[in-house]
Amino acid sequence: MKKTLNLVLAAVTTMGLTFSAQADDYITLASTTSTQNSGLFDSILPKFEEATGIEVRVVAVGTGQAFELARRGDADSLLVHDTAGEKRFVENGFATERADVMYNDFVLIGPKDDPAKIRKAESAAEAFSAIAEAEAPFASRGDDSGTNRAELRLWENAGVEPGGSWYRELGSGMGPTLNTAAGMDAYVMSDRATWVAFENRQNLELLFSGDKVLFNQYGSLLLSEEKHPHLKHDLAAQWHNWLLSEEGQQAIADFKVDGQQLFFPNAQ
């Protein structure tokens, strides 16, 4: 009995040590699933770590949840794609600085046979209204993420109030939404990066892209020292500045999937 207890204690201690014996030089970055799932971080983080010795721990969630993590002081840095939301975040005093880092674009995905005929659409607005008119199934993220917010703005542009049985709010991340869309042959809007890296396409194809309104800007934010003095602001600033530096911008441009560049650096 006593022996067992000693073993247990030994085990707990060992594991406790493993848990705590981790680098102190790291920051927690709240970011979006699109950057994570595409593999961008796997490509650029080693370069940053090599340059600075700082490990970046990515918590990939929807943009809404990423803002919430930063608001509560649970992340040292924020890289998201909702420019309007980011600006509000600065205005509300949670961040001191916001900078453009890169962009990719949103693309409209749908079943090969394209029942709403959006392949021929001239603009994103036309494509969106065609889907609504045809009442073709459309899978929406419905999770208050950057992509979801952009999608809602695009419906508004097209003068459509999405609703009805054809419009399906999934409340999921980009990947699960694509999986579901593939399962029910629905239209879906995705960021290009996630789409290119996505493997379970089944009957889905890229049907429409290229309109400027589908531009998907990513921004990096420096969080407020005043609101959350405990955060690793120095390290986070190094990360922020590296992203905007020539080196960081080049690293982003160098990330390719199947020879295709997915993110386009555009820091000023």
Binding site: T28, T33, R72, H230
Partner: protein
């Protein structure tokens, strides 16, 4: 694609690469430590509820039984709010660490261990009570004796707890953050691969997880059956 998954699972196991190895080890560490802590708290708690009469005892039993079905995300949300910087335990800086995942899993597993051990100990107490009183044992003294004599049943209960801990994803995702190399475990890796549409890999990881859990269960089963046969 599914045939593919078995191939993927097999090659994952055969060419156990460093990152998968790390994920497997972390999964086991987190769940085993959580189950251990939950056992150290839950078994005495279950035995205490079985032994002592106190006002509100019925309520405690109902609550323990109900909490066996606590949705992991709810536990995760609770622990997140607790450990978040803005939360009461934020100072500890435990969020997005394996420690946070252990805490969340302890909360998920504890009610299972306490509720089921309460039942078992109560059953055993019915059999032993007169002898215990005859021996002049206090209730506090009865507790270790009952727990030891219920050891085979407790092992099964422990495995049920381990099953819940190793299978859940909602809580560890929320409080661990699925950080590559830090808090990524089998279940969160499966979620990630699924969201990338890499279904064969996701299923392959699932098969690896299942294989591990089965190996642990089989070992425990064989050990306890052998011992049980010996003990009658």
């Amino acid at each position: 694609m599914e045939e593919n998954a078995f191939y993927v699972a097999l090659s994952l196991l055969v060419n156990l690469d460093a990152s998968l190895y790390q994920i497997v080890v972390l999964s086991l560490q987190v769940s085993l430590v959580a189950v251990l802590i939950a056992a150290l708290l839950g078994f005495p708690l279950g035995a205490a509820v079985a032994l002592w009469q106190f006002p509100g005892r019925g309520g405690v039993i109902v609550a323990l039984n109900a909490l066996m079905g606590l949705p992991p995300v709810v536990a995760g949300l609770g622990v997140y709010l607790l450990l978040s910087r803005a939360g009461p335990l934020g100072e500890l800086g435990l969020l997005f660490t394996p420690g946070a995942m252990v805490i969340a899993q302890v909360i998920l597993v504890l009610p299972i261990l306490a509720a089921l051990s309460r039942q078992k100990v109560e059953e055993l107490l019915g059999e032993y009570r007169e002898q215990f009183v005859s021996l002049g044992m206090s209730k506090a003294r009865m507790m270790p004796t009952l727990l030891w004599d219920a050891r085979f049943a407790l092992l099964t209960i422990l495995l049920a707890g381990f099953g819940r801990a190793s299978a859940e994803v909602g809580a560890v995702m929320m409080v661990g953050g699925n950080i590559d190399g830090v808090t990524r475990v089998m279940t969160t890796a499966i979620v990630l691969e699924t969201s990338k549409g890499a279904l064969p890999l996701a299923l392959g990881l699932g098969i690896v997880l299942l294989t591990l859990v089965m190996a642990i269960n089989a070992t425990a089963y064989i050990l306890s059956e052998t011992a049980k046969r010996r003990m009658g």
